[in-house]
Amino acid sequence: MPVLTYLWILPLLPLLGAAVNGIFGRSWNKSIVSAVSLSSTTLAFIAAVELVREFMALPADQIPWTRTYFPWISAGGFRADFALQVDQLTVVMLLVVTGVGWLIHIYSTGYMHDDPGYYRFFSYLNLFMFFMLLLVLAANYLVMFVGWEGVGLCSYLLIGFFFLKQSATNAGNKAFWVNRIGDFGFILGVLLIFRTFGTLDFATVLPKAAAMPAEPVGQSGVLTTIALLLFVGAAGKSAQLPLYVWLPDAMEGPTPVSALIHAATMVTAGVYMVARSHAIFLNAPFAMQVVAFVGCVTALFAATIGLVQTDIKKVLAYSTVSQLGYMFLACGVGAFSAGVFHLMTHAFFKGLLFLAAGSVIHAMGGEQDMRKMGGLRKKIPWTFWTMLMATLAIAGTPGFSGFFSKDEILLAAQRVNTPLWALGVLTAGLTSFYMFRLLFLTFFGAQRFDEHHVHVHESPRSMLMPLVVLAILAVGGGWMAAPLLWGKANYFAEFLSPIFVANQEAPAAAAESAGGAGLLQALLGAPVIAGLVGFFFAWWFYIRSPETPRKLAASLAALYKLLYGKYFIDELYAAAIVRPLVWISDNILWHVVDEGVIDGTVNGVARVSRESGDRLRQASTGNIRTYAAWILMGVVVFTSLLLWMVG
């Protein structure tokens, strides 16, 4: 079992690639750089596949398979080892990360071909792979946090990849900062875990947490606190309300980055973390409610913004936020495996969407505004067809991967909380609308660009191959969870069942309500219908009568403006938090408190000393009679004191 035994190989491969490219890549030509980078990811993917093979053969009592390498931090009773572990959840994530990562690496060789920072890009990308693998392989919260922060770092680096652009570096900073706010919660959660359980190892913490009594809603217990704190971290990383603001801006990065990091893998780390900590969450029902609520509201909220955006990547970004909301909704209602499943399918279709969008942008020579596209269907057929597959998948078309995962989530939501379900369905309709809007605006209708200036061309094969592979996955990837519909085993859920063993209420509930199969069908139908409605409106608005949207926008000007302005959340944050903070720091803390009060006191003491010194020296008038008077004063005072006071 070479890979399981030498588990460190898996993260090390991309790290090596990153290091080699980072140090030497500047002077190498691009083919060597891409060879290094690709070979490291390819090997990582192969290793991951081999790992899965080996893992399948492991006896159940050896799962999770843990490898401890060296004590990383150890002081005064605290100990965190550098340890990796593999279990079913890890395996799923590993495949997603290495697989999608690998494809996107291939895609990037084409996409980034003309960029002068080629080596840098691949170095960062490989580094990202390393941290992402560390994140999913971690055997304790601290190593997980390493990956967690590491991917944040890479996200920062890659968003700001075009560092000559002010907006790109702004976006990078914003991403890192907002993530840090999340990390604040995460770190506190980890600290509380340590305080509660005395360790950070999953293998100890999670069973202990599971063994603790569930904390009733309305009574804040330690698990609830932990869960909420962890969720703050997750919300930061996975762009949930109110910390989602960085993700749309993150589209400043190169498109493969958006695909890999800001759609397929990194942003799902929050979901992964919540799923990983499910034992804690399950015993904290209030936290579960919060997660579900936040997820659901985020899903709807982001979808409404996505309705009116004109930047092709922005639409996808808000869509990502929305879909992540679904995943949290799943976790919040206890359907962790459904959440993870949606995570996986989302990685396929959203990755594909971004890559395809990248292909479109590539074809349009960098143009991202959909209003300046149109009619591209014929010119870039491969892109169109793959993108269509992805759109169908995300819209929840029956048979496509998104259908299975989304419906499973909504099903679970319905069991717990009907309003959430309703909102989910509504979101599904909105999703369908904006995705088809995107497709129609881009590929259908009249060409709204000047062909003399823009030479539209299909992307090179290195970019198309990943599109095709992902399209296949987007279409077929859902079937492994499909059979639940027909009463058979859900392979995916079953595979993960050892992990979420504490979470068997959901299937149990399913069994209970098996009688109401008709109701079930009806419920499952709802999202499909919503999707159709969305499709219809999109068709109506953008194919049938393209004038309608403008009229509608005019008649609902306020709402349109609100949505187009993304609810002005960024502006709100800027006005309510950022600018006051900077203003206070600058004008109050620095200039008033620091320079005025504290330094003023210090300099004031100096000035008082100087001035009293000046006074004192005025006593020294040079006139001897004055001096005599002073002496006399001393004499009188001392003799009087001696005579009257002392003795």
């Binding site: 006593a619 008038t621 006139n623 009679r625 004055t626 005599a628 008077a629 002073w630 006399l632 004063m633 004499v635 009188v636 003799t639 009087s640 005579l643």
Partner: protein, 166 residues
């Protein structure tokens, strides 16, 4: 009132008047003369207490030598009337009142503290006894005073010498 007290009072009045006059006179030569009056009065008081030798020294050294020196210097420097400058407010408004306070305070306390002191009768002290004491017990300071005089001479030499003397 015994005659001694009467003499004392006369001499004391003389001394005080001289001292006050010293202050009030504006020409230094007048002040010097007032001071001589004080000294003479004091010499009388010494006699009254039987300190004949001291009285003699007082007249000879103080009145005769030191004050002559003063007068000589005043004449030499042609010192005129004191100017009425009052540059030191400190001295005028603090110093002088404090001086008066000091005077009263010391006089009061000393008067109070010594009122019980024994009144030994005035017995003439023989100069012999005095010189025995001076040259036996106090020979060391006595020798030191010779150095003091030497220093004074040296000082006068150094300071008053004209620049073109060498």
């Amino acid at each position: 009132m015994t005659p001694q007290i009467a003499v004392f009072l006369v001499l004391a009045a003389m001394a005080v008047a001289g001292a006050v006059n010293l202050i009030l006179q504006r020409h230094p030569i007048h002040s010097a003369l007032s001071l001589i009056v004080v000294m003479v009065a004091l010499a009388g008081l010494y006699l009254l207490q039987g300190a004949e030798f001291i009285a003699a020294v007082q007249i000879i050294v103080y009145g005769g030598a030191i004050m002559v020196l003063f007068v000589f210097v005043i004449m030499l420097l042609n010192a005129g009337e004191e100017e009425r400058t009052n540059l030191s407010r400190m001295a005028r408004y603090v110093g002088v009142p404090l001086g008066v306070v000091f005077l009263l305070e010391v006089a009061y306390w000393i008067g109070r503290a010594t009122s019980h002191m024994a009144q030994s009768s005035p017995q003439a002290v023989s100069t012999r006894e005095l010189s025995t004491l001076l040259f036996r017990e106090y020979v060391f300071p006595f020798e030191l005073t010779s150095f003091l005089i030497l220093i004074a001479i040296l000082g006068a030499l150094v300071l008053a010498r004209r620049e073109d003397s060498d």
